[in-house]
Symmetry: C2
Subunit: 400 residues, 2 copies
Amino acid sequence: MKKTGGLKLMQEINQYIILKTIREKGPISRSDIAKMTKLSPTTVTSAVNGLLNEGIVTVGGIGESSGGRKPVYVEFAPDSKYIIGVSITNSCIGIGKVNMDAQVKEKKMYPGDFQKSANAISYTLDRISDYIAECEDLSLCLGISIITPGIVDAKKGIIRNNAKLHLTNVPLKEMAEERFGLKVWIDNDANAIALAENKYGKYGSRKNLIYIQMGDGIGSGIVFEDSIFRGSHGGAGEFGHISIDKNGILCECGNRGCLENYVSWPSIYNRILDHLEKGSPTTMVSHKNSKTLDISQNDFLKALHQNDELAISVLEEPVEYMANGIVSLVNLFNPDVILIGWGSLDKDSYFITRVREKVKELAFDIFTDGLEIQPTTLGGDFQLKGAASVALEEIFEVPL
Amino acid sequence: MKKTGGLKLMQEINQYIILKTIREKGPISRSDIAKMTKLSPTTVTSAVNGLLNEGIVTVGGIGESSGGRKPVYVEFAPDSKYIIGVSITNSCIGIGKVNMDAQVKEKKMYPGDFQKSANAISYTLDRISDYIAECEDLSLCLGISIITPGIVDAKKGIIRNNAKLHLTNVPLKEMAEERFGLKVWIDNDANAIALAENKYGKYGSRKNLIYIQMGDGIGSGIVFEDSIFRGSHGGAGEFGHISIDKNGILCECGNRGCLENYVSWPSIYNRILDHLEKGSPTTMVSHKNSKTLDISQNDFLKALHQNDELAISVLEEPVEYMANGIVSLVNLFNPDVILIGWGSLDKDSYFITRVREKVKELAFDIFTDGLEIQPTTLGGDFQLKGAASVALEEIFEVPL
DNA sequence: TAAATAAATACAATTTTCAAAATATTTTTA
DNA sequence: TAAAAATATTTTGAAAATTGTATTTATTTA
């Protein structure tokens, strides 16, 4: 509790309730808002007037009469303000304008190998600076939301650790706020994307969601009761480092049998090479140059979706491991939805179908009944949507 | 949001803030409350009068003057009302009066083997009925809080599943509320005890806590940001069934290598028998009758605390497995505290010391820095304290 | 065209907070 | 020892936002 109960708080709460109703149910008439919220017409009118003045809602036409004066609809105006979303990855900085419905309106990409250069942060801040310089309507900007892999203390605004980008205890929020004079949010990418899936994705109605991010490593974002589960230092969700084989491969983290060593892209890539060497048939490449080959994740997934024999056989073991890891996840978190983010992974591909089967087989029925295991649903702009979600979550939160 | 912002809500919020201040900081003068909460003296006086009328706070003497009128202290009166706490286990029903500080004021135990009789619920309800009949001050009773192992949907008040007590979808909350006309809470035991540790235990200042319950099986309760993490169907925290060895022992749940098969009491007991057969030296028993032996968990722990050779060597492997499981837990939840509930387990015993070491060794430093791994701190009444905590949590929650 | 219905606004009543003043009590100090 | 200063609590009156009711506005229906 930050605030004590005063008239102002009371007004803020009502305005929050009304805005929420308009966002979810709009276009809607003032009269219907009053009925739904059980607030008096007077209160609704005055709050709506406030919101209209702010520009955050607009009048959206006139409805049909049901035997009296026609209702005037008001609706949420998601484009009236925007967030500058920023996504830092190992190989690319993305910056863009995102509206209040987490729709990406404009996007710029700056590729680069930040794993080597070790100046990802200063480079990012410079690009943001350029971007801001070109914004004509900065007064409508609600702030900058930055997401990055690694362990992020979102509350304090510090990147605790990111081994690949060589970052330790970077107070990015403070740095950016000082430099740009705008509100800044930072968070872990998987957390942010999980939140975006929860708020704006296809399975958004489910309260408890886990997003598993596959790539060079394996991370996850956990959303519980519609808000991010961060743990004590923002480090929750290191799914790649749960051990599923006590006597397995020694991981660079010091433990043995970490999931990451069996199902990350590098490990799968090595399996592909092994199989190719053995001369397994595949549509992915002609065999002659298989040694010098550089197969991308999307090439591989494309082959998988065409039921390429090699792609499937390569995944046989990883699928087992992944399912095993997910079973532990299910037993610990009891989620409604698990979304797997791996490029263009298809919902009917061997990978996810088999994982689904295996999880169903191994976990308690009571946990798997109604559990969805699906690919992500946000589409190409998932990172910037994620970034924006973190900001929007706070902007539209209950005023307390 | 259940309520809209009205004068009543505003008053409730302020009363909540003031009561919370008195509970945490009391005995305290009205004047100091006003300073701490930044509420006006008027508001404080009127709210305190309300609380005094309710009987939930009392005047607690007069303080020393610091150059003016002496302050009149008000303080929380935890004994002014009570909760009937009920704990159902496989072998015992416990019923007792618990005050508003989760102190157990009175306790009755009803032993029995409910795993066989299959009527644990009706037996429990009958005992509660008896208990209530003897309560003279039922008007001061805030309700009945029941905890039990198994998967419990606390929100809906249904015991979803408890294999050992043969329970499926028992609407216990409704049943009890109808029969007794009192407010009833039900929850999973590990969840409840975790909450009690968080609210009333030694490590209560930490926001994120995991309680691991060792016994016939292994369960856990997760408290995140000071409230229970239940998952979708109340099933979160099935720590005993995370797999730490993909190719390990086949578990009755269908999976392989579940933690429960390596560190639960039955599995440890079997190890003891094995060792005894081999003639390992021990202070636990004379060897002659080792075959027909019935060693209790507390006998074993007592021996362990005396550094009995056999006890230690029996635990060597379980410790490894437990540490491994905890590492996964730490990587997923990033908690501040992990508390292990296993009888009278000593904080310096081989078991916990070694687990601590091993976890420190295998998990990320950033997660283990400041992480406490300790035995439980609630003492003998932990179950009833747990039950009461669930009720108190709701009784004292923010009014929204 | 008048009556009925519905949406939106205006107004008075209510309630609770807050600020300031009043009152009560105690210590300090002249 | 009495007046002044300090602190705690209560009283008083003004301010603010809600609610319910009444009113205005707009539209349909008879």
